[in-house]
């Protein structure tokens, strides 16, 4: 067979995918980088070169960096809680329990709903005047909580909605991981007289680490894009208490129509996320490998 003909044949098969990649991923990325060096806004449209002015402004934009800090806290806290809850739910329905299949489907329902619609529902539920939560708390003798109008409760509200929506994702991955574990180590532990707690810490969880690491990384990537919940629930308030970098970029880039500044914020956000998540992934993999050794 002629080598060059074969190489051309390969390229022909790859070309549609490569063109799609270029159009959907590469072009928007390079265009955004180009826009970030311009002054495009409502008053001055177009790719007029402004050098690094946007990046210089961003370096001194305390509101952006504070939003980043909030995002880091929200993302890490919600993902960790999702992991713990997801693991607990997976362990509940892993073995032979009654209505196992029903519960497995039930636990997945929140993830199948539309995030914006669910955020609107949660806003109604947590509404301090009209929602049922404070009503129920009142009947239990607990004072009403300013869910969306006070800083700490507002942060908690955002976390509640995110955890409610995305714990099923963790549950799904971890249940799949549990179901794929070999039986022999469990039999050996049982023979050695290990109880359920020791079995979990010495057998189950270590074997689940690779899946756990993957689930954590995937959820962290998604959690770092948190926007719908904040948009609907709090608009970043009260004040700036729940304003994350994604929401701030939306406000500056699209609402305020500072297209070029929004582009600079987006590129910086992308770079920071790639670096941070790469480091976290490497640390998790190292932890997994260390445990395996």
């Amino acid at each position: 067979m002629n080598g060059s003909w074969f190489r051309g044949y390969k390229l022909a098969f790859l070309l549609p995918a490569l063109l799609s990649l270029a159009a959907i991923v590469l072009f928007p990325l390079f265009f955004t980088i180009a826009v970030s060096f311009s002054g495009w806004d409502a008053v001055t449209p177009g790719l007029n070169w402004r050098g690094g002015a946007n990046y210089a402004a961003m370096a001194g934009d305390a509101r952006f960096w504070e939003a980043f800090g909030r995002l880091a806290f929200l993302a890490i806290a919600t993902v960790l809680l999702e992991y713990l809850l997801g693991l607990a739910l997976a362990l509940l329905v892993w073995r032979e329990v009654k209505l196992r299949r029903f519960f497995r489907v039930l636990f997945l329902v929140p993830m199948m709903t539309t995030p914006v619609v669910m955020s609107v529902l949660w806003r109604t539920i947590l509404h301090e005047s009209l929602g049922p939560v404070n009503d129920i708390l009142g009947h239990l003798g607990i004072p009403a909580v300013p869910w969306l109008t006070s800083s700490l409760p507002a942060v908690a509200s955002v976390m509640i909605v995110e955890i409610w929506q995305w714990t099923p994702f963790m549950f799904l991955l971890l249940l799949a991981g549990l179901l794929s574990l070999p039986r022999e180590p469990f039999l050996a532990a049982a023979i050695d007289g290990a109880g359920p707690v020791r079995t979990f810490f010495n057998v189950t969880w270590p074997m689940l680490l690779p899946v756990s690491a993957g689930a954590l990384i995937i959820r962290l990537i998604e959690a770092s894009k948190m926007l719908e919940t904040i948009y609907v629930l709090t608009s970043g308030g009260p004040g700036t208490a729940t304003e994350t970098s994604g929401y701030y970029i939306y406000i500056r880039g699209l609402r305020d129509f500072e297209i070029s500044y929004g582009a600079a914020l987006s590129i910086t956000y992308l770079v920071v996320m790639i670096v941070a998540l790469t480091i976290i992934a490497k640390l998790l993999v190292r932890a997994v490998k260390g445990k395996a050794a």
Partner: protein, 521 residues
């Protein structure tokens, strides 16, 4: 011979009468297009925008592209009148609906990139500073139609940039006070308030009175329905139009009738005024009012405010018409118990020239002619004739009377004819006193020579979202009012510098011209 003469005479008589018959006002039936029959029929007023006139246009084979807000507010009337226009003229009308948060960029990006995406645009009138260069001036013929001549001076001003009308009025908005007349006029409530405070219970003329009354009527059952009620519903959610609510409060303290040349900025120096003592005082009063909010009132968007006041939870509110119309909906327990009044004012107003407070015996209460819905035709449109005919038809007298009756449409009075109280009484069943308070409050705003308009300059969104963020931080206790507004002022300076001082000044001069004088239209 006689027979021939009689026949000729008969034909001549019929020919003479026919035109009169044809031009007789016909009744419009909206039931074909949806559940609008309950609003009755409308009479087609003669003129270039009438059903009869538009029905003579032939736009078959042509397509009109329209962008508008999501259904129902402005989106639903756009759909309705687009279908009617299409039936009358044969034109194909493509309507695109966009949520408010995305509307500006969906309009702006095609305009900036020179794509002729839309012929007709419905949007917030305060964006005129950014959009005016892309808009086709309203041709003189359309400015002379009876419906346009009848538009009140305020709303002609809103539609105008410099001396050119570039927006086509389809709605009129303003902020005003709404209150529960059944409480204010209740002798028991009056006696109780007098006993506890030593003052008469009357419609607040100042923001101090407003806050006092609101706090007094908070957290107890003054409506006699077994539920706790509260004093004030205000739009406080940061990126949900809170900046407009704040401007309503600031106007009294900072729009000084003795000082011309700028409310948001000093026009001469372009120094932001948003952190002067008048603005700071307004923010302090806004923060104080929180004690009178219902639970969650610190996170009320416009929708929450509408349903809080309109649902009977609060004694007073101020914003657009919607909460009032909601309260007056058929079947609402507080229907015909709500009244309208001008925004409260202040007896002390900051004078930015003398750097002192001026005292007024009669409270200074400048009306805030806030932004509302407007429409325009793109300069680049190749269908300007059809586009202006559509807008002319959209806002013709019959359609406007229907739209005014349907609260969810978002169309509010903007013509002198709309301020006839008998319309509201007969068509909507309002009590005479309620209708009277409504039309008097709204129509009186046209006569003021000390008005506040929105900051209709390029980059308005940047200015307003910065202001909202600063006010929200102060409301949440994250910053002191003065510190928060100082930061806003600093950011406004940066924005002005980035856009160009002269560009912003030239645009702001148009706003100042409107604010510092009664309309000359």
């Amino acid at each position: 011979m006689k027979k021939k003469f009689a026949t000729i005479a008969l034909v001549a008589a019929v020919a003479a009468v026919l035109p009169a018959l044809a031009s007789a006002q016909s009744t419009i039936d909206y039931s074909k297009y949806g559940d609008y029959a309950k609003f009755g029929s409308a009479t087609d007023a003669p003129g270039a925008c009438s059903y009869q006139s538009i029905g003579k246009k032939n736009y078959k084979g042509r397509t009109l592209k329209v962008i508008t807000h999501a259904v129902p507010v402005m989106g639903e009337p756009t759909d309705l009148h687009a279908k009617q226009f299409s039936d009358l003229t044969g034109a194909k009308v493509d309507v695109v609906h966009v949520p408010f948060g995305d509307l500006f960029q969906r309009i702006m990006i095609p305009l900036q990139t020179k794509q002729a995406a839309y012929d007709v645009m419905f949007y917030g009138s305060l964006w005129i500073g950014d959009l005016h260069n892309f808009l086709a001036p309203v041709p003189p013929a359309y400015q002379k139609v009876p419906g346009m001549v009848d538009v009140t001076p305020n709303y002609k001003d809103v539609a105008t940039w410099g001396d050119t009308m570039v927006q086509y009025p389809v709605d009129g908005d303003r902020h005003y006070l709404k209150y529960r007349g059944d409480v204010f006029n209740n002798p028991e409530m009056q006696a109780r308030f007098k006993k506890d405070t030593g003052r008469d219970l009357k419609v607040p003329a100042t923001w101090e009175e407003y806050n006092e009354i609101a706090k007094y009527f908070s957290n107890w059952d003054w409506a006699g329905d077994g539920k706790k009620h509260f004093g004030s519903a205000e739009v406080t959610k940061r990126d949900d139009l809170m900046f407009s609510a704040f401007i309503s409060r600031v106007a009294a303290y900072a729009k000084n009738p003795k000082v011309k040349g700028g409310f948001f900025f000093d026009l001469k120096t372009m120094e932001p005024q948003v952190n002067n003592p008048g603005w700071v005082k307004a923010l302090e009063m806004f923060i104080d009012a929180q004690k009178a909010f219902p639970p969650g009132g610190n996170n009320f968007g416009l929708g929450d405010e509408i349903f809080s006041f309109g649902g009977g939870q609060t004694l007073m509110s101020y914003s657009w018409d919607d909460a009032f119309i909601q309260a007056m909906e058929p079947g609402n327990p507080i229907r015909n118990k709500v009244f309208a009044a001008p925004l409260p004012g202040s007896k002390e107003v900051w004078n930015r020239v003398t750097k002192s407070w001026d005292k007024f015996e009669t409270p200074n209460a400048p009306p805030y002619i806030t932004w509302g819905w407007t429409s325009a035709v793109a300069k680049a449109s190749k269908n300007q004739d059809m586009a202006f005919d559509f807008l002319c038809f959209f806002s013709n007298e019959a359609n406007a009377y229907l739209d005014l009756q349907i609260g969810r449409f978002g169309v509010n009075p903007y013509r002198k004819a709309h301020f006839d109280p008998t319309f509201w009484q007969q068509k909507l069943g309002w009590d005479a006193k309620v209708a009277e308070s409504y039309v008097q409050t709204l129509s009186a705003m046209d006569k003021s020579s000390n008005r506040v308009f929105d900051l209709r300059v390029p980059g308005v969104s940047q200015f307003m979202s910065t202001l909202a963020a600063g006010v929200a931080e102060a409301m949440a206790g994250q910053k002191e009012p003065k510190a928060a507004l100082d930061e806003v002022a600093a950011k406004w300076k940066e924005i002005v510098s980035k856009i160009g001082v002269e560009k912003v000044r030239a645009a702001y001069a148009n706003v100042v011209k409107l604010e510092d004088s009664a309309s000359t239209r």
